[in-house]
């Protein structure tokens, strides 16, 4: 693997994105406006009246970093599913790259860098919208951007590794249904995991998304502690590095027969 070569494959994804950037930019602005409007403002009015948010924080400020982290997860997962399988089965662009000096490592890293870019741009837009809704309470919030990139890769790495072993995109449905959607709902995104039954609370604690949500929330609210930050980052790094390492091996097995 060499970064110079990985950047050449990254460049392909950039050129590829030029066709669809308008639609995807619109989505990344519209989504946070909808979510923060409905949950932060709409539902938030009710929650605030009950006065039951942890630490008495405004519900919009509570839910915004949760949805931010969950969006990083979704973008990372989506970018690592269809585009990876498509590059093997439909456009076959991985094979085109393999006929040139690019190797497996360059192809994996170039594509992961691209997924990280997509997570970074959509998270940056998200953070700006949160700020516009008045949901940011600490300058530490700028660190939520790299945190989101880490969350994105923690999902994109393992997902790309998995996608490279599949024949059909139907294989992604159970991952979304039984992995991504429950995580989105129950990993502290909308309510604290302490409200879950004890067993499920521990399950939630084991998910990478909960670590991402808690990290982002600590940063935008300014309540983060060093010890929790280190644990969250380390845990997410294990998923990211482990996932990318696994992708090296599944890509190699699939493409270099």
């Amino acid at each position: 693997m060499s970064y110079a070569l990985a950047l050449r494959s990254y460049e392909f994804w950039l050129a590829f994105y030029k066709r669809t950037w308008r639609g995807s930019l619109a989505t990344s602005i519209v989504n946070p406006v909808f979510y923060l409007g409905a949950l932060g403002v709409g539902l938030g009015t009710l929650v605030n009246r009950a006065g039951t948010t942890p630490g008495g924080v405004d519900y919009l400020a509570f839910v915004a970093p949760g949805v931010l982290a969950a969006t990083a997860m979704q973008v990372g997962t989506t970018e690592a599913s269809w585009p990876v399988l498509g590059s093997i089965r439909w456009t076959r662009v991985y094979y085109a790259m393999l006929a040139t000096p690019l190797g497996i490592g360059d192809i994996v890293v170039g594509h992961q860098l691209w997924m990280a870019t997509r997570v970074a741009t959509s998270s940056a837009v998200y953070l700006a919208v949160i700020a516009a809704f008045g949901g940011i309470q600490s300058p530490l919030a700028v660190l939520a951007l790299p945190a989101c990139v880490l969350i994105g890769v923690a999902f994109a790495g393992p997902m790309a590794a998995y996608a490279a072993t599949r024949e059909r995109d139907g294989a992604f449905v159970p991952v979304m249904r039984f992995g991504i959607v429950p995580m989105f709902l129950f990993s502290g995104t909308f309510f604290p995991i302490s409200r879950l039954p004890v067993v499920l609370e521990w399950v939630a604690r084991a998910t990478p998304l909960w670590h991402g949500v808690d990290l982002c929330r600590g940063l935008t609210l300014g309540t983060i502690t060093w010890s929790s930050a280190v644990v969250h980052v380390a845990y997410l790094l294990v998923w990211a590095v482990g996932g990318v390492a696994l992708a090296f091996s599944t890509y190699r097995r699939r493409l270099l027969k």
């Binding site: 070569l5 392909f12 590829f16 790259m97 006929a99 000096p101 690019l102 270099l256």
Partner: protein, 313 residues
Amino acid sequence: MGESQQLPLVRARGLEKRFDDLVAVDGIDFDVQKGEAFGFLGPNGAGKSSTMRMIGCVSPPSGGELRVLGLDPVKDGAQIRARLGVVPQDDTLDFELTVRENVIIYGRYFGMSRKELRARADRLIEFVQLEDRADSRVEPLSGGMKRRLTIARSLINDPEVLLLDEPTTGLDPQARHVVWDRLHSLKHAGATLLLTTHYMDEAEQLCDRLVVMDKGKIAAEGSPVELIRQYSTREVVELRFPTEPPAEIATSVDGLARRVEMLSNRVLLYTDDGDRTADGIHGRGLAPQSVLVRRSTLEDVFLHLTGRTLVDE
């Protein structure tokens, strides 16, 4: 200088490729010299594509020795691929991009500058006669045009060896001739071509030298003319029948040909003088539906070596 000229660009000794229990390539030896057009002729499943993938450094050999441009494909894959051109069996073009963009983005993988690529892309697009379509998207192009674009793209790095895996499979006859014409032109410019095909006419058209592959092994090697001389006769008389030829025909044509092959709907008589053999047929009162006298081809060589036809009937 003399010695480096003799060094083969591709050299295989006892080369093997196994997938679990399946032996795709079973210990083959060959050398490809600079400036040569070298072919692998054989039916589907003969091991041609596996061999090509090993040469293209995208499939590690399971055994034996392989050197490409004097380097080891397993260790020096990136270095070798930087000097190869690859036309894969299935196009790997980006259908959403234009013809020109496809060439340029591919050139970027080789680390060439955009400025240099723009000039080169124009020349190559012209070479494959797609200049009218340079700015159209790839998707609506015909199969032949797509294949020519793949060839243009494979030349972007000025490759020392061009690998073509089934270059005209799936194309209509006219499109095949255009592709052949472009490959001839490369050949005359001194390019080294390595191609696989299951079309004997393609092998005859393009190859200076070829190996006939069957079930992972090399059954014969030589130039098309040598192979025909060695394994066949000058001419062939084909007797065609509407149904399966009567079994007794084998004895009734006795003495008219050097060798007889019975196929499902025709009988082939291998002879040095086709007209005389054909006259003999009529003289013996045999009445096939039609009698055709033709030159011997590589198909006949393949049939003789393996007992089977190249393309399933």
